[in-house]
């Protein structure tokens, strides 16, 4: 089902949604744009295409209390925090970040162990996505099978066609949103305009990479000097993993005493030495060589096996923000090139 909404009506529509939903949208705070809960439509940043922090934090916060504990009179009381009360909307999520969530779904929601903290938030959330009319120079979703107007995983998809958005409902949840009065039947011109922006965006993006070849080559490169070359420049800062929309690794720590406290999980990164350091002093990934190898192989070789999907969606955050300009696109180009 496709309808249009005039841009001047979007603020009122969002205000209407705020009555029933907790709404997360891109917001700018201290020059950092990321998905935060909004209190009013005025909070939304409409201009940023790739937010600094990915929207994964709506479902998998950087820091999250798993439960609190209290010991008294020889008993142990746990209070878990996985319940999600209100229905949520993530507004303005980009196709690459949705694709990343679909990978995380396959990590956190498996038949043998459901991560209820992640799953409960996902189940309560309607995803309103927006297409990318003007992809950035660092965007490469199309290299990896994605696209600036890919709709998989979304409930409602918006295409910016000038003075209005073309809105396509993809699920029952999306349809429900289209039921509001602000939406009108699209004209032929609206549909044509949407098609034109999509074609223009695609023209700006790179060609697909042969990711199967990349995987095969990586699997034969475990002891290759290739990793030394990357390690030589890598600072091990971890920004590529913290800000990656797919990366899901976390640490679990207790804060408090034996008597009472909280068990907390925090984002963690395979790029740090302590990540795999054991209490004995043994470290199975002792140098940057093993750590840069882990990052790239996890995304491009292991996740296609374990999750059935690549661990990279081409959002370009790691390319934008790496302090020493390590560029995963270069790796893909080198390894994906035909022999």
């Amino acid at each position: 089902m496709k309808k249009t909404i005039a841009k001047r009506d979007v603020a009122r529509f969002l205000a209407r949604l705020l009555e029933d939903y907790t709404v997360y949208a891109p917001t700018r705070v201290a020059e950092i744009v990321s998905f935060r809960q909004i209190g009013s439509p005025n909070d939304v940043d409409w201009d940023t295409l790739v937010t600094r922090k990915p929207p994964k934090e709506v479902f998998f916060p950087q820091t999250e209390v798993l439960f609190s504990y209290e010991q008294a009179d020889g008993g142990l009381a746990l209070r878990s925090t996985e319940a999600v009360e209100t229905e949520r909307i993530v507004w303005g999520i980009r196709p690459c970040d949705v694709r990343a969530l679909l990978v995380q779904d396959r990590v956190f929601d498996t038949p043998d162990a459901r991560d209820v903290y992640f799953v409960n938030k996902r189940e309560k959330t309607t995803l309103v996505g927006i297409g990318c009319n003007k992809p950035l120079a660092t965007c490469f979703c199309t290299s990896l099978g994605g696209g600036p107007f890919e709709k998989q995983g979304l409930d409602l998809f918006l295409t910016d066609i000038g003075d209005s958005y073309l809105a396509e409902a993809l699920t029952g949840r999306g349809k429900k949103l289209l039921g509001e009065d602000y939406f009108k039947k699209p004209t032929k011109a609206d549909l044509k305009a949407a098609q034109e922006v999509e074609e223009a965006a695609l023209a700006r993006l790179p060609q697909p990479v042969d990711t199967e070849t990349v995987k095969q080559r990586l699997d034969e490169m475990i002891d290759s000097p290739f990793w030394d070359e990357i390690q030589a420049v890598c600072l091990g800062c971890g920004v590529c993993t913290f800000l990656c929309p797919v990366c899901h690794c976390f640490d679990i720590v207790d804060e408090g005493s034996a008597a009472c406290g909280q068990r907390i999980r925090n984002w963690d990164t395979c790029q740090y030495c302590v990540y795999t350091l054991e209490a004995s002093g043994h470290n199975p990934r002792p140098s940057g060589r093993e750590r840069v190898r882990q990052r790239l192989m996890h995304k491009l070789s292991y996740q296609p096996v374990t999750q059935g999907r690549l661990g990279c969606v081409g959002c370009g955050r790691c390319v934008q923000l790496c302090p020493v300009n390590i560029d995963i696109r270069q790796t893909l180009a080198e390894l994906g090139a035909s022999a």
Binding site: G74, L76, D112, V116, I252, R263, A279, H282, P284
Partner: protein, 293 residues
């Protein structure tokens, strides 16, 4: 009381939330080694009904919570055939294990598990088995041995050989169990220490050399090997020379872990997670993977 046999409300909640530990009480603490660096903790469920649903196989592990310090993985050292509390033998190494070593009978810990795959007993069935252990890596091997030697389980295997080494006699774990196993006719036990010690009448020398001397013929035999990396590094070539193919050599791997359920990411070896796809792997599975173990 019938209510005793029922899982507690916490256990019902934990069945839906894999991060919630169940309360267990330290029933007894036993110092295993003469340097007191290894202690065995007998842990009983605080709610007896929680034990009912706790079904495990040798080789599985649990995440143990020391509240305020966090959680760490430990192999289950008792056998599912042994009634009563679960046994965990803990080396004092870091913050959590140091705190655990200071705890006493009656204190409460948290427990999540059983986790991981365990030893493939159905694969071993009908074959000879040689169990090779070194240092304090004998915990789940104790579980495996006790399980095999329990009642009719012994008939599922042909010859069973144990080769277990420590630097000196005082560092061998489970001395009472070892003494009892040595008395049995249906298992051969070879204990070794690194260099001669007074009153020691058994093997002297490193595990790889004892393996070379006493291991059963490779044909029809599976090997299970757990020990420090250096022992494994030197024993593997001996097993290969004896004719053991990688698919008949199993090991239980250790890695730093957090979640224990394949989410937190840190314990992978190639596409495998040690916590969920292991900790028990055959060497055939590990071929061609980064040697991050």
């Amino acid at each position: 009381m019938t209510s005793k046999a029922r899982p507690s409300a916490t256990a019902v909640e934990a069945a839906l939330n894999p991060y919630l530990p169940l309360p267990v009480r330290i029933e007894s603490v036993h110092v295993e080694t003469d340097d007191a660096m290894l202690k065995t903790f007998d842990l009983a469920f605080a709610n007896p009904g929680d034990a009912v649903d706790f079904d495990f196989v040798p080789g599985q592990f649990c995440e143990i919570s020391v509240f305020g310090k966090g959680e760490a993985p430990f192999g289950i050292a008792s056998s599912p055939t042994e009634p009563g509390p679960l046994k965990f033998t803990v080396n004092k190494a870091g913050v959590l294990t140091t705190a655990l070593h200071q705890m006493e009978e009656g204190e409460v810990l948290g427990l999540r598990g059983p986790l991981g795959n365990g030893f493939p007993l159905d694969v071993f069935e009908g074959h000879n088995l040689v169990i090779i252990g070194g240092g304090f890596a004998f915990t789940t091997l104790r579980s495996l041995t006790a399980y095999i030697l329990h009642g009719p389980n012994r008939d599922r295997l042909k010859d069973v050989t144990i080769i277990y080494g420590a630097r000196r006699p005082g560092l061998l774990l489970y001395k009472e169990d070892l003494a009892a196993w040595e008395q049995r006719k249906d298992i051969s036990v070879h204990l070794t220490i690194d260099s001669a010690a007074p009153e020691w009448t058994k093997h002297v020398g490193f595990v790889p050399d004892v393996v070379e001397k006493v291991a059963p013929k490779a044909k029809g035999t599976y090997a299970v090997i757990c020990g420090p990396p250096i022992m494994i590094r030197f024993t593997m070539p001996k097993l290969t020379a004896l004719g053991f193919p990688p698919e008949r050599i199993y090991s239980s791997l250790e890695r730093r872990m957090k979640c224990g359920i394949g989410k937190c990411g840190r314990c992978n070896i190639g596409p495998y997670y040690v916590c969920k796809d292991g900790p028990v792997f055959s060497y055939a599975q590990l071929e061609g993977k980064p040697r991050e173990f």
